[in-house]
């Protein structure tokens, strides 16, 4: 089980900043993601309009989610599939295990699925003697290294070539030890060969879903490798893991969302494989699974409906927010301590595992607003993080020093003349203290802040005084 370590964010972040390998990986990959998305968006003049449309489609789907899920289920059944409604992660794990046991499964191949990580399905299957094999290249090495993905579309974001070589040498001991890993291609080829055998041997294939389509009862996956397609085509049983908010009304709605998904995620115009699966093998078909199951998971989402966090349920998991986030870019994904990192994780994680555990995450933001500016479904992520901060404060979960300072500030802020007096006194006082060097090396009550930098000493007036003077001058002209 992934025990969340989100409450240790500060310590994890400090360690991440000192991790040379991680810093190398972040420095290499972060800017590339930003440039690719910018190019893709610039290449499509309608991109901003399409973002509005994507937002509206998801809002419409969420406002009528019960109706669309019922329609979706009816159409899955018509196509010969089964929907398993699971309110909790526990229910979902049991449903998957039962399907696998009924199929007499020994090995299960898996396409990349974040909800699969969320419900920790691999651990559950292993505990019951079934071997899950991750087939997405990034997930494969994550499984070999027994860690969590550090990014929602690039699980091995934090790794370098030497890590790949090390993990592959350790895992593939049947291959010649003197083989070389000169290029990335060597890694890819070895993984392809190793995993091809797993695809062919698996009894059950488990994939996630980027979308569910009510109109047709289809599940949709988007990949570049083709591993998801092999996973859902070759085994006798296909299980789809999907959370409730993935459901959209029609193929056309899904198509419009697809136009912004790949561009926001990898900067591709379209992913290599976008695949719509609808039920089990049809009469006369020469391939495809004989059973098709959808494990439909709530696990906390319905509790966000009707609250200020409902907008988070529009998320289509493109990762643009974390790719553009200065905090993610500095500490990477693991510091966030659970399945979903970056700004979307800072909003979603407290909703799913509680603000008591994950309250530090919405505080891990500079509120620069870059995440919101690139979100393809226009989720106001900073605003939602601010809501979590409010809840944290209301429930007395934030640290005492911070609360005391905030209380002190509030006292003055409610008394404008006192506030002006106090800020003037502070500016003068600090100016006097730092009059020789122009900077202050340490400050009482702010030792953490000055540990890493000096505070330039205030020069002259306060903001209020200057503003008032400017107004006076302007009115005279």
């Amino acid at each position: 089980m992934h025990v969340p370590t989100s409450s240790a964010f500060k310590q994890s972040a400090t360690e991440a900043l000192r991790n040379a390998g991680l810093q190398k990986a972040l420095g290499r990959s972060g800017p590339a993601f930003i440039a690719r998305r910018a190019a893709a968006a610039a290449n499509l003049p309608e991109f901003e309009q399409l973002r509005d449309i994507a937002r509206d489609i998801k809002n419409h789907a969420l406002a009528n989610l019960d109706f669309y899920l019922e329609t979706y289920e009816a159409n899955v059944q018509k196509a010969g599939g089964t929907v398993h409604w699971c309110a909790t992660a526990e229910d979902a794990r049991e449903a998957v295990l039962k399907i696998c046991q009924n199929a007499g499964a020994r090995t299960v191949t898996k396409g990349k699925s974040m909800i699969g990580e969320e419900i920790a399905i691999n651990d559950h299957l292993e505990k019951h003697g079934i071997t899950p094999v991750e087939t997405d290249l990034g997930e494969y090495i994550i499984q070999l290294r027994q860690e969590l993905p550090s990014h929602i579309i690039a699980p091995a974001f934090h790794l370098n070539m030497e890590d790949w070589e090390e993990a592959f040498r350790k895992a593939h001991t049947d291959l010649p030890p003197d083989r070389t890993f000169n290029e990335r291609r060597d890694v890819l080829t070895e993984a392809r060969t190793k995993l091809r055998a797993k695809f062919l041997a698996a009894d059950v294939g488990i994939t996630g879903a980027n979308f569910l389509i009510a109109e047709t009862g289809s599940s949709v996956i988007v990949t570049n490798e083709g591993n998801g397609d092999l996973t859902q085509t070759l085994p006798r049983v296909h299980i789809v893991l999907a959370s409730i908010e993935k459901c959209v009304p029609t193929i056309e709605d899904c198509t419009s969302l697809l136009r912004v998904l790949a561009r926001s995620a990898t900067g591709q115009d379209f992913s290599v494989y976008t695949t719509f699966s609808t039920g089990a093998r049809r009469p006369g078909d020469l391939d495809g699974p004989e059973e098709y199951h959808v494990v439909l998971i709530d696990n906390g989402r319905s509790g966000m409906l009707g609250t200020e966090f409902q907008e988070m349920l529009r998320c289509i998991r493109c990762a643009a927010c974390m790719n553009h986030c200065p905090v993610y870019g500095a500490v990477g994904g693991h510091a966030y301590g659970w399945v979903y990192p970056g700004p979307m994780g800072s909003v979603l994680t407290p909703g799913l595992i509680g603000v008591e555990e994950a309250g530090q995450l919405p505080n891990a933001s500079t509120f620069c607003g870059k995440c919101e500016s690139v979100c393809p479904v226009r989720i106001p992520l900073p605003k939602l993080m601010r809501h979590w901060r409010e809840r944290e404060f209301e429930r007395h979960l934030s640290p005492t020093a911070g609360r005391t300072n905030l209380g002190l500030w509030a006292f003055f802020a409610r008394r404008p003349s006192l506030y002006r007096l106090a800020t003037r006194a502070a500016a003068m006082g600090l100016g006097f203290l730092g009059r020789r060097t122009g900077r202050l090396r340490s400050l009482p009550l702010a030792g953490g802040w000055t540990a890493g930098r000096d505070l330039p000493t205030p020069e002259g007036d306060t903001f209020f005084a200057r503003y008032a003077r400017q107004q006076r001058e302007a009115s005279r002209q």
Binding site: A63, A154, R192, T250, T255, L258, D269, F276, S277, D285
Partner: protein, 225 residues
Amino acid sequence: MSREAMLTAIRRGLKRGPLPSDQAAMLRGRLADHPRHLIPARSRLPHPGQVDLFVRNLEKEFASVTRVADVAAVPGAVADFLAAQNLPTSLVMAPHPELQAIDWSSRPMLSIREGRAEATDAVSVQHVFAGIAETGTMMLPSAPVRPTTINLLADTEIAILRASRIVGAYEEAWDLLRAELGGMPRNVMLVTGPSRSADIEQTLELGAHGPRQIHVVLVDDSAAS
């Protein structure tokens, strides 16, 4: 049990009971009409322009294309491609009537098996249902005559597409599918170029789990259609 509990929880969140019948009817109408949203202008071209855009996008996504004048030229184009790439000449081919109607004996070196693909197949030949110019995407709906494994297992996939089947936007391909197939087949793959991964150091490498290369033989039948 869980189903009702989940639907109730959703409705509680939305602060209402089940949708009133008039609203449900409206949503059913929306599903039946499946209205289109904004379609980007880039594919709004006369048909020859759409064919060119399809080819340009396909090549940008690392697939290769040979354009031939008619169906009779397909076996030659396939044989020449295999020879140039130094690839084996035994193929597994989707049992589609349009592919079966081709006179493959004009190139006796080619040995063809019809059916689904197996892991041992090096080269597969697929029938493309429609081409989508917007992004150079091929629509491949599953059917007894168009097995899914043909798209996945061979190292090299050769895709046969008639130019008259190229449309501008995804929505037009979905309309073709609804009109000709009546509903959703078990599986519809939208394929845009050969398999790839950027999981190693976020740097693109071709040839992940699906085909390492895709070669499209485009039959120029547009003038006749």
